[in-house]
């Protein structure tokens, strides 16, 4: 009886996983197709990869995307880290709750709202749409996730550690550099990686604030996909899937390290969207 339950459970599990991964592997599979369509596999070939690397426009987009991601994640991590420390140091619970709610506004807002409202904002202040506006927008929507990754680490920290450091003669800067930052480090790293993924993953916000001159990979893919199938996009997606895999593995190790060092084993809790 119980065994039978288990068997069906496993079948269900496998089935859902197949459904979840099928489209991704389908995409990757056809990137090796000799033919030009995502159907009727006519033989193995690297030619779409060669096309992709020869496509200077696509390569330019790839570079753009990574510059935007790294730059925005770096700045967002810095701002978010100090924001988290600020929230952590806020004593009045009322103010703290308001800060936390405001922090989460961009986390729950739909992409289109963020994109549209940023577009209005940038136009209002007279910022030319392009690289600058895209980076600013990416910094803006990555900050809350950094705060959400760093803050729990800070809250987990025994506040007596700060007292102890002061007691032993450390000044503010030394308390920060020798005790708080090393302790929060796993959270800071996760925040940075999450910020990178957010940036790489974003389409909607970029689409709104990108203007004509500048474009990222996802915007480019969108405009090409509207024209129909292009197997260099498949090749690109295979590449990006590989990249995601690497990022996930890095993230997994960071969060496992932090879970191990904080005794409480919370496992890998990821906030995505």
């Amino acid at each position: 009886m119980v065994n039978k339950h288990k068997k069906w459970a496993n079948v269900y599990l496998v089935l859902v996983f197949i459904l979840m991964y099928a489209p991704i592997f389908y995409l990757i599979f056809y990137s090796f197709n000799k033919g030009d369509y995502m159907a009727g596999f006519s033989g193995f070939s690297w030619r779409h990869y060669i096309d992709m690397f020869a496509d200077t426009r696509l390569m330019q987009m790839l570079v753009n995307t990574f510059i935007v991601a790294l730059l925005s994640a770096l700045i967002a991590t810095l701002i978010g880290l100090f924001g988290a420390i600020g929230i952590y140091n806020t004593k009045q619970t009322g103010v703290k709750n308001i800060l936390l709610s405001l922090n989460n506004v961009l986390m729950v807002s739909p992409d289109v709202i963020i994109g549209a409202s940023f577009l209005i904002f940038f136009t209002m202040v007279g910022l030319k749409l392009g690289f600058g506006s895209v980076v600013l927008a990416h910094i803006a929507f990555s900050i809350p996730i950094v705060v959400l990754m760093v803050l729990p680490r800070l809250n987990e920290m025994n506040p007596a550690l700060i007292d102890a450091a002061r007691d032993l003669g450390a000044n503010n800067y030394q308390v920060l550099s020798r005790v708080v930052l090393p302790y929060a480090w796993p959270g800071i790293l996760s925040g940075f990686f999450m910020a990178i993924t957010y940036s790489l993953d974003d389409f909607a916000v970029t689409f709104f604030v990108t203007g004509n001159g500048f474009s990222t990979l996802s915007v480019e893919i969108y405009s090409r996909a509207r024209q129909g199938i292009d197997l260099s996009i498949n090749a690109m997606s295979a590449l990006m899937f590989l990249l995601s895999l690497i990022l996930v593995v890095i993230y997994y190790f960071i969060s496992n390290y932090s879970a191990a060092s904080s005794k409480k084993k919370k496992g890998t809790r990821m906030v995505v969207h």
């Binding site: 102890a164 002061r166 032993l168 302790y183």
Partner: protein, 371 residues
């Protein structure tokens, strides 16, 4: 008298409307082991944090060797703390934790190494320099925390309930060792605890705190034998506390009878409270007793029997006896006049001390005459 190393003058602390410390005065002399003893929320940890500099006093002066230090930040005070949950830095190993204060001050490597070795020797952890904090037992972490604080050569070491997380046996052992370390280094220790047994065992001097005030201070023996009020009598050790009337000097009435005692200096027929420690009471045969009680219950405690009984006025009695009793039996209760301790209601500590001084002398004469 030498200048006290730490002095509080009318120090008060409040958060908004919540008063946690009401005008505390205290003096700490160099080189002694002090204990702040009180239930949780009584203000003892607040006093400690004010000395360490983690809190700022709302009013009053805190002096260190005669200098006002109210506004001095913790890192500039010659005082170090052993925290309740040790607060060892989890990202550093044992050596780095102990060396932290010295490396902040920019001391040389060889000096740091020598000091760390010395300190770990002092707390009996030699050879564990490279261990991670998470690999240590609770007792070992405790020792590292002590070594870390002492490595800064503080004038005063503050200990915030440092033994509360340890099991009974380890706690006993650490009590003894802390006392040893204090004697060896000759610096001042201020120890915070809610455990009266711990306080009595370790201290040269105890401050008993309750509801944001120091209610009594004195040597462990003073405080145990002559508690100032109901709270102290109840908090320190087991006691039988009964309402009574002081007929005149050396004569007190309680439990429906009058007894000779050794206290005086009160108004005739003043309402008082009478304290009798369970270990001072003896069970004797009914005709030899000063009071007759009926045994209600008893439990074996290893080295004695804890017996509860009631007298004919329905007062509850706790008695510690070496021999068992029979439940339901009527027995006599015997105690000496000097076992009776009288507490006046709402007596200030100053008046209490003055009265004690006066009648302690006569008490000694009295006992001498008797023998």
């Amino acid at each position: 008298m030498a200048q006290p190393i730490i002095e509080f003058k009318h120090v008060a602390k409040q958060y908004d409307d919540n008063v946690v410390l009401k005008s505390v005065d205290l003096e700490i002399e160099a080189g002694k082991f002090y204990t702040l003893l009180g239930p949780s929320g009584s203000g003892k940890t607040t006093i400690l944090r004010l000395i360490a500099g983690f809190l700022e006093a709302t009013s009053g002066d805190i002096l260190f060797e005669g200098q006002k230090i109210n506004d001095l930040p913790p890192e500039k005070r010659r005082v170090n703390t052993v925290f309740q949950n040790y607060a060892l830095f989890p990202n550093m190993n044992v050596f780095e934790n102990v060396a932290f204060g010295m490396s902040i001050k920019g001391k040389g490597k060889s000096e740091i190494k020598a000091k760390v070795t010395e300190m770990l020797g002092l707390v009996k952890l030699s050879g564990l320099e490279d261990r991670e904090i998470s690999e240590l037992s609770g007792g070992q972490q405790q020792r590292v925390a002590i070594a870390r604080a002492l490595a800064n050569d503080p004038e005063v070491l503050l200990l915030d309930e440092p033994l509360s997380a340890l099991d009974y046996k380890l706690r006993k052992e650490m009590q003894y060792e802390l006392r040893e370390i204090q004697k060896r280094l000759g610096i001042t220790f201020i120890f915070v605890t809610h455990d009266q047994e711990e306080a009595l065992a370790m201290s040269d001097w105890i401050f008993v705190t309750n509801e944001g005030e120091i209610v009594q201070n004195g040597t462990p023996v003073d405080i145990y034998d002559a508690p100032i009020n109901h709270f102290v009598a109840d908090f320190i050790g087991e006691s039988n506390i009964l309402p009574g009337v002081m007929r005149k000097d050396y004569l007190v009435a309680f439990a429906g009878k009058e007894f000779e005692n050794v206290d005086g200096g009160m108004r005739p027929n003043e309402q008082v409270e009478v304290v009798l420690r369970p270990e001072d009471l003896d069970l004797v045969s009914a005709d030899e007793g000063k009071l007759i009680v009926t045994i209600d219950d008893q439990s074996f405690r290893g080295d004695y029997y804890e017996i509860t009984a009631h007298d004919d006025d329905q007062n509850e009695w706790q008695i510690q006896a070496t021999n068992p009793a029979i439940i339901g039996e009527r027995r006599g209760l015997f105690f000496d006049p000097e076992d009776i301790h009288i507490m006046r209601l709402n007596e200030s500590e100053e008046d209490f001390d003055a009265r004690m001084e006066e009648y302690d002398d006569t008490e000694e004469e009295g006992t001498m005459n008797e023998s």
